[in-house]
Subunit: 172 residues, 2 copies
Amino acid sequence: MSRIAVPYTHRLADTLARLASPGLLLSATKSSGESNIMTIGWGSVGIVWGRPVFTVLVRPSRYTYEFIEESGEFAVSVPTVDMQRYVMLCGTRSGRDMDKLVGLGRVASPGKTVRAVSLDSSPLVYECKVVHHNDVIPDHLAPEIEAKSYGGQDYHRLYFGEITGTFAFTNY
Amino acid sequence: MSRIAVPYTHRLADTLARLASPGLLLSATKSSGESNIMTIGWGSVGIVWGRPVFTVLVRPSRYTYEFIEESGEFAVSVPTVDMQRYVMLCGTRSGRDMDKLVGLGRVASPGKTVRAVSLDSSPLVYECKVVHHNDVIPDHLAPEIEAKSYGGQDYHRLYFGEITGTFAFTNY
């Protein structure tokens, strides 16, 4: 099904509900053409520096990290309900061990405004170009979050991605 | 009018539209009981560290900065359309020179989950406790944003506020 451009706030409450469960799909593509995809449960959407921004958090240990570092782009695909098993697999398997796109039978295509691929089967896709990044700073974090989410290591990098396009199936 | 608790995504697209124009109202209260309020045009809402988070950006030069630094809390009030003139004034006058609450005839009250005050006349209010902060890093910023928004100085601090309560008028 073809997608049309929609406002970045299109069905945003639904997007955030799916972010909470089962997760959204974050993908990035290197200049070599190689892509990776991972499940994210955290993210933020708003206006920063006068432009719509999707902020995602990626740990340096994740395979996707090097894809975003190299390309400076990413895409976020909202899954349908029947993609729940795929979303779970993308959250538990590393792209270092398997190709989560080809290996799991999913088709992904480059974006309209970024080279980063997104899933053809997703009804809503955000295409983003990184305009800033900074890191979670241990000493500036609430202690209970530090203990629960980090335990002293692998602090997330925050990528602030200008939303260069939001595209939805015409029936979504 | 009394407010009731609502999901943090309640009318979120409308909140972000008002963030873009004319702005939302960011307020904070010191332990002394003194409060300040300012207009913001940038911010982000989502889920981080497994909890709803409202991220706001405040320049160190702003009077509000010291209020959030001291209290570790803030509130965001969504203005009604007829508050547009007040929102503009809050964006152009500093709390160092006038009390923008009392001086402009606005009534503000402490939150239900934070001490930070919010405007009684706002139909939707987010109450937030800071769980993390970091700063815009010049070297990690897209050059056109650096030039347009900073020119080498007064880089924003990002306050990640856990949304401890979202409260709306019953008719909003």
